[in-house]
Amino acid sequence: MSRTLLTERNGPVLRTALLYLAAGFALFLAMGLLGLAMRLDHATLLPLPPALYDEFFTLHGAGMIAAILLGAMGGTVAVLSPHADLDPRLLWMGFVFYVLGVGYIPLAVLLGGFAAGWTVLYPLPLAYQAGWTPWSSFAFLLGYLFVALGFGVWCLAVTLATARAYRGVGRALGWPLVFLGRAQPAPPPLHVIVATVIALYGMGTVLVGAAYLLPLFGQTFGLTGAVSALLMKNLVFLFGHNMVNLTIYLGAGLVYATLPVYAHRPWKTSRLSAATINLLFLSILLPFFHHLYQDFANPLPFHALGEIGSYGTGLPVLLVTVLGGLTLVYRAGLRWAVPSILILIGFWGWVFGGLGALVDATIPVNQVYHNTLWVPAHFHTYYLLGAVAFVWAFFYHLVADLGQAHESAASRAAAWMYGLGGAGFVLMFFVAGAAGMPRRYAIPLSGTGEPALATLAVGFTALLGIALVWLSSDLLRALGPAWRKTLAAPEHPALAPGESRG
């Protein structure tokens, strides 16, 4: 339960962490404005031309996922850095690739008119008659390639570091404890196990992304013919599903590292918790099949597996991570601060959004909820009020830890307002979804109550916006001192081979 993450040797890594987090946060704010514009459109307060609406949701979806993942990657290297020596050069390389990729996305959308949605569902990106230029489609996909490459390099950096620090990938994953019940030598902290699982799974995900992108590039240049739309859909949803889930679990990893500081209690690496984290290899994969429900041409067992997997995934989240977190704070004399408030909000949102996902993962219900606003409803809940809350909680914690906290009573009120505004915002999505309002629809559909619901959502978004402006100002003031603190720390040579910092 260290009070500070800064050691005498991890300054360079913490600087890259701050960079990842600050860039992710800035991108998140910009993408949030696009989200607001879309809700204003549905509220009929600021009608957008359909082409612009479609560009906005394309940019918003791709940009938000990139933003939160980037922040989560930054937070993760920060919490790893006292335990494992990460190579700052690899982290910088990953950052450059990633940001280069992110740069292509607005270029393709805003200049080239690309608007195929962040899911780039084959063969839509190549259907230029839909209203975009060939170069913009290529640029968008190139953006994905570089983002995946940047993430892949980050995964490599994390895997190498934890494997070196704990003398093998198996030990970094806590396998002696999980499989043999050995508690000596001490198993890695939970956030180290999470990071290692995610990094390994992430490298596989990058390969899935490449398998999806290559036929698209081939067809773009006339090198290959058409491929199976069903196979491509399965691939792109596997890629997207993984990227989103990896982000969420990276966010959870940050909670393992942060909440004990505020609860003054240790979050122990028990055999159950370590095993649960290792189960992520399965529990991230299995629910993927629920994306295939409406493709009746897929084998029936795939559909059944989607429902079973979705139900099964909810159990470890609820009973190990969230229950563990709530146990940690229960009658703990918790220190109320922006990070602890955001983390508790994150627990609420993760479970509430998860419930929405479970409902939608029930196949007969999916018949009437699929591709309605229920879908953004549930993923906004466990994203905005789950993973995002976790990641920005950590960002706030880190700059306060390194620099000077600018937190006031108003900051804590802003953190609660973030939860309140966010909850109201997503609830309107849920109601509109149950009423049958389609997602990715540039106009509100009559009979779904959507203009009124979107108007209410805009009101809640105002609360969210005020909260974010306040918290951003705190962060901005603390960022400079935090950065300088990492520069002041003396730097030492790398660990000798075999030497462990665990």
Binding site: A116, A127, Q129, Y311, L319, V320, L326, G356
Partner: protein, 181 residues
């Protein structure tokens, strides 16, 4: 399925979770208590919740199987289709082989696409979403629907397919003239 049923369940379970969460949050600060007894009690609660949650989910899972929309299961529930409608999607229009259908019949929609993915979604006369399936190039998805309510049904595209996507809609009639052969 009436979409407000699952919505009500969601609100009840979500509300219960919110109350439980709030109770913990309200007891988070204040004088700290010993952690070990709380940790042990949490373990007991986990085992209890595990059993209860697995039990409930198993029941829901088994109950849902009979309501799967996939042709073999749907045919067992709704009866074999007496009417077949070929549905072809193409940017940005629907072509249905017939647009007048009898009420009280099980209809099979054979849905495909000539270009990109589309979403074949049927909205009933009351404006409620009734059923849907993907229209995918190179594949034919068979959707069985039993129509009881007569009236005009709207077909909308629910899979984003380009900027004119919002205008991709058509209609068919159930009952009335649809009852005539």
């Amino acid at each position: 399925m009436n979409p407000w049923g699952p919505f009500a369940v969601f609100l009840v379970v979500g509300g219960a979770w919110t109350v439980a969460w709030a109770l913990v949050v309200l007891r988070a600060s204040g004088p700290p208590h010993l952690y070990e007894p709380i940790y042990q009690a949490s373990g007991r609660l986990r085992r209890l919740l595990f059993g209860a949650t697995v039990g409930v989910l198993l029941v829901v899972l088994l109950a849902s199987v009979g309501w799967f929309p996939y042709p073999p299961v749907a045919a067992a529930r709704l009866g074999p289709p007496s009417v077949r409608v070929a549905v072809t999607a193409q940017m940005w229009q629907w072509t249905l082989s017939r647009t007048a259908l009898p009420a009280g019949a099980t209809v099979e929609f054979d849905v495909t696409s000539r270009d990109v993915n589309h979403g074949f979604a049927i909205y009933g006369p009351s404006g409620r979403l009734v059923a849907q399936v993907q229209a995918m190039p190179g594949y034919t998805n068979r959707l069985l629907v039993h129509f009881t309510d007569p009236g005009q049904y709207l077909v909308r595209c629910l899979e984003y397919c380009g900027i004119p996507h919002i205008g991709m809609a058509t209609a068919f009639q159930v009952g009335g003239r649809g009852d005539r052969p």
